[in-house]
Amino acid sequence: MSSRVISPGAPSSGPNVRSLEAPGPRVGERIIKVLLWLAALVSVVVTTGIVISLLLPSLNFFQQVSIVEFLTGTIWAPAFAEPAFGVIPIVVGTLMVVFFAMLVAIPVGLASAIYLSEYAPVGVRKTIKPILEVLEGIPTVAIGLFAFSVLTPLIRDLTPFLPWTGPFSIGVAGITVGLLIIPLVSSVSDDAMRSVPMSLREGAYAMGATRFEVALRVVLPAAVSGVIAAFVLGISRAIGETMVVLLVAGAGNPVLSFDPTKGIQTMTAYIGSTATGDISQGTITYDSIFAVGALLFVMTLVMNILAIRLVRRFREVYD
């Protein structure tokens, strides 16, 4: 092309071209920029802080307990005279919570997302969305206490054929966590389905599809990566949930069991209940909190990165 093309950003250096830059240096502007940059840097510092705070005591811990023993051992008894640090029982506890939570949250969350995105009139949507947001904002202590006092007795009465023992139950804890993450699953999937272009729906309707078919066979497959991201975020949230598990599944009892009617300790419950007791720094029990925390952090990190990737892929397709 000819020399008339104006290249953006790079002003030509001819003598008659006037710079669009400010005439003098603006020191204040620079300082402000640096301050704002520092504010953005805080989050990096926090992440670094988390990694260091988990890593250093964990290294201490793994000098006394081998990683293999930690990851494959099936007995978790940190307080015993002869302590055993096999993390499997409390990981199973956490996975039980995740399983029951997703059993509740996936169908209900997805159903309300499909309804809100494909069926609900504008008015209904405008009323229900804030209510779901309020549910998301309810403190987990409140939900845990409610589940312990109302939900556990209710479920116990409804299923007398199950071998209920004691006041705590990991299954009920999972169901409660499920209730808690419904708004999360629902709103992320709803966002994903709403950003599916209208033309896809119109095309399907034009071909004679019913509303049901459009929702299930056109919109849902088109939004699938966003919907899966919603599930992954839900799983990550369920792994990290603490207060509900402490209240409903009890703080103690780290046994390896798959019985949902029992109270079983989870990773978060171990951290929460052990750190509240006044344990002294430098003991192996103190360090074990950090080792479990590190494992928890890695598990949720993998989930979150997966979710971020899925959402990004989805955005790239339709934005």
Partner: protein, 318 residues
């Protein structure tokens, strides 16, 4: 649906033509029909399933509020706010110090997250080059941080703020700082969303008139994004108020009988106090815990309503 046998039966025609005509008719009808019965029934079933799912969510909120009011009813009085916590005389115990503790902790959280959160959001949206690898890393990092379980922030607080480099001890300031770091990603993400919603024509107009980038940001973009940023901050604060797990690790579980201070002495907050009461076997303390839940729910519903009101009040389309 179709009872009319159609043209093919009224006019004599050879069998192979009859099939072709009949087939053509059937296909056209299938195309034009609004769906047969089976399909419509299926649609209805799904529709009711969706409504059922939604109803489950709404019913559980209603049930929780109802339960808290019924279970906490005997203790719902002004004494709840003025009496100090106690396990010895549970019938007279209250939440005074826990409520004060929450006020201190949340006050600190607000002071920290507003400048840090909005500052980071402004930098990332208005100053940072999104293609710069460092800025991309910061962006990804914030998204990850938003998903880190709250109890992990408790571990950070225990290792870095209570002990370690900052060594504040088990005081309200430590709880405040821990919670501030926990909700910071939420504030940044919400503020970025609000800033991004300001149309670029406003920026271009301001820059074209000779304003500097900071003048544009501070006098045009931020005022326009203010309601959105405010809503984000309010929702983050609401989350901080209800958060208990990280505070378990930074000391907020003690039964404090004296009014707390920011940098000295034990402290407790509303949610951790509720947890402490709920853990105890006494019947009176269970009632007290339920009454505490009522206080917290009322407070949070109020805060959330303000946020929703703000959002609707200032909602505008560019």
């Amino acid at each position: 649906m179709t009872t009319d046998p159609g043209y093919s039966s009224r006019v004599a025609m050879p069998p192979r033509t009859r099939t072709a005509v009949g087939g053509a008719r059937e296909v056209t009808e299938a195309m034009l029909s609004t769906g047969d019965r089976k399909k419509r029934v299926r649609g209805l079933i799904l529709y009711s399933l969706l409504l059922l799912g939604l109803a489950t969510a709404l019913v559980s909120i209603a049930a929780m509020i109802t339960w808290a009011i019924i279970a906490g009813w005997p203790r719902l009085s002004l004494e709840l706010f003025t009496n100090v916590p106690s396990v010895v005389t549970p019938e007279k115990a209250g939440y005074r110090t826990a409520i004060l503790g929450t006020l201190y902790v949340i006050g600190g959280v607000i002071l920290l997250i507003v400048p840090l959160g909005v500052g980071a959001a402004v930098y990332l949206e208005e100053f940072a080059n999104p293609r710069n690898p460092f800025n991309r890393f910061v962006d990804l990092n914030i998204q990850n941080l938003a998903g880190v379980p709250s109890i992990v922030f408790g571990i950070l607080g225990l290792a870095f703020i209570v002990r370690g480099p900052l060594s504040l001890g088990f005081v309200a300031a430590a709880g405040s700082l821990t919670l501030a770091l926990l909700v910071l990603p939420t504030v940044i993400l919400a503020s970025r969303e609000a800033i991004r919603a300001v149309p670029s024509s406003i920026r271009d107009g301001s820059l074209a008139l000779g304003a500097t980038v900071w003048q544009t940001v501070s006098r045009q973009v931020l005022p326009a994004a203010f309601p959105g940023v405010l809503t984000g901050v309010i929702l983050a604060v609401a989350r901080a108020i209800g958060e208990a797990a990280p505070l378990l690790l930074v000391g907020a579980v003690t039964f404090v009988t004296f009014d707390p201070q920011f940098f000295e002495g034990g402290y407790s907050t509303l949610p951790t106090m509720i947890y402490s009461y709920a853990k105890r076997p006494q019947e009176e303390l269970q009632v007290l815990a339920a009454a505490g839940v009522v206080i917290m729910l009322v407070l949070l519903i109020l805060i959330n309503s303000v946020a929703i009101y703000l959002r609707n009040r200032f909602e505008r389309t560019w």
